[in-house]
Symmetry: C2
DNA sequence: GACAGCAGCTTGTCTAGATGACTAGCTGTC
DNA sequence: GACAGCTAGTCATCTAGACAAGCTGCTGTC
């Protein structure tokens, strides 16, 4: 006798004024929370839920799409609905751009990923001049044109981050910064070699749901938000020398910051 | 003749293999992005969309729930579907817990809110002893029991943040820290008075979709993620003296950090 | 003028189907 | 063994309709 897939599920309360599809979602959510369905497990199929609860298929689908919106499950066409596996998260230390790290040569992303035993990749490299948006221009002190460096980062084949660096054109033209590969230590190392000694970074963090474009680029499951980080690099003369606009898959990252108490 | 509510919308492409409900969502999204529907505007009613596109009501609802999941629109029962208004965001400076700010007396939240012209409130105050979770215990160095201080913060009547502070019981009992109102400057000021001079804070940031409980507590619209921040306060002897677990409505906050470049 | 009640709008929930498309495993042929 | 084709099971999309429930403004009564 095969184990009943719906075994962890109870019955509906017809006297409750909570909508049926919410009750079903509640029971599935509870079963997941309590570990009766584990990460990667297949949930009962829509047909099984229809039979178990005696409701129509649309009602069941309504429940499942609720859970999908919460980021608890993912559905795979032709296969089933699965408890969303939580990928390992990458911790971003707040000192990852400290000068001492730049001396190693490799990029922060590569070093950290390899240390964590993951296979890092960088793709979609695009380097070109453009007119900055209002926001970027303001942050950089109003240059007419900037160099934009776009890239996408992947860990073990999974895209996790999409970033664009903007550098005022007068700082970048004719330097390795305008090359596809800026060399060891990245553009911060190059900026310092060019005499722009870095003083501090400002980081601005937001979280929101992704645009359809971002869903595609980062291959996001539904119910996964993005972290939007905008970092501005200032040199010791107070000039903003770079703005880096980063969109990260929120389920792939934990950001760490250390703040002095004085 | 009244203006057609569906005026900004085009027609479907029956040859496209993009699902009809996605095409409808695309058109609505574009109209919103381009400002043809502005913040707070009412979208065409489901009936109007049904007539405009010649599809069934469930298809239209499917489109709308897609946009709701993206956080672009909110629906109000009996009224309509509206472009989600973006509330003003509160910027959290990374030095808001610096010692110099504690000398003012009021809490950081109150000071900042009033400076921004908003009406701050704090409610759901609960102060009690409890056994810490595994995670909290580890962060605090393994105390058997802790003092938990829970509160919810509101701006202009809107809940924006839900926070719990955990303090090892041996630091808190018999001090103002265990009182409902810990006095001017908050518990950090009290901890320093008790000889625990603060050295630094560690902050850990995640973003995710809210649990149903969090949706209720923070009155979140669907499609709004939460920012989960865990701050650990360390004294100059290296001891963790407090952990603050905060869940924030992501549409109400921008987090700012300043990092030295050395 | 105040107000109760109704009409007509809105979204919310649910049913009962139909068809399509993807996946995985099986089977039979070559 | 390789592989094409079949089949059963799965989710994806869409239709047509029913009733419930919340909101707003109008209307008629008092």
């Amino acid at each position: 006798m095969p184990a009943q897939a719906t075994a962890p599920l109870g019955a509906l309360d017809p006297t409750s004024d909570r909508a049926v599809f919410r009750q079903i979602a509640d029971q599935l959510r509870e079963a997941i929370d309590k570990g009766r369905f584990k990460e990667g497990d297949k949930l009962p199929s829509e047909t099984e839920l229809v039979e178990h609860y005696g409701v129509s298929r649309m009602t069941v689908r309504n429940s499942l799409s609720l859970l999908q919106g919460e980021g608890l499950v993912v559905s795979e066409h032709g296969k089933g609905v699965f408890v969303r596996p939580r990928p390992p998260v990458r911790r971003l230390a707040s000192d990852r751009f400290a000068r001492r790290h730049r001396e190693q040569g490799k990029s922060a992303f590569t070093v950290e990923a390899e240390a964590a035993g993951s296979r890092p990749e960088v793709d979609s490299l695009e380097v070109k001049e453009e007119r900055p948006s209002q926001d970027i221009a303001t942050r950089l002190g109003g240059p007419r044109r900037v160099l934009a460096r776009r890239r996408r980062y992947l860990l073990d084949g999974r895209p996790v981050e999409f970033a664009t660096s903007y550098i005022p054109l007068d700082l970048a033209t004719g330097t390795p910064i305008a090359e596809p590969n800026p060399g060891p230590g990245g553009i911060y190392a190059r900026l310092e070699e060019l005499g722009h000694r870095l003083d501090h970074f400002d980081e601005e963090i937001r979280a929101r749901m992704p645009s359809p474009q971002e869903v595609k680029t980062l291959r996001l499951a539904s119910g996964v938000p993005v972290i939007h980080l905008v970092r501005t690099a200032h040199d010791t003369e107070g000039r903003a020398v770079e703005v880096c606009d980063t969109v990260m898959a929120a389920d792939a990252y934990v950001l760490n910051y250390q703040l002095p108490a004085n």
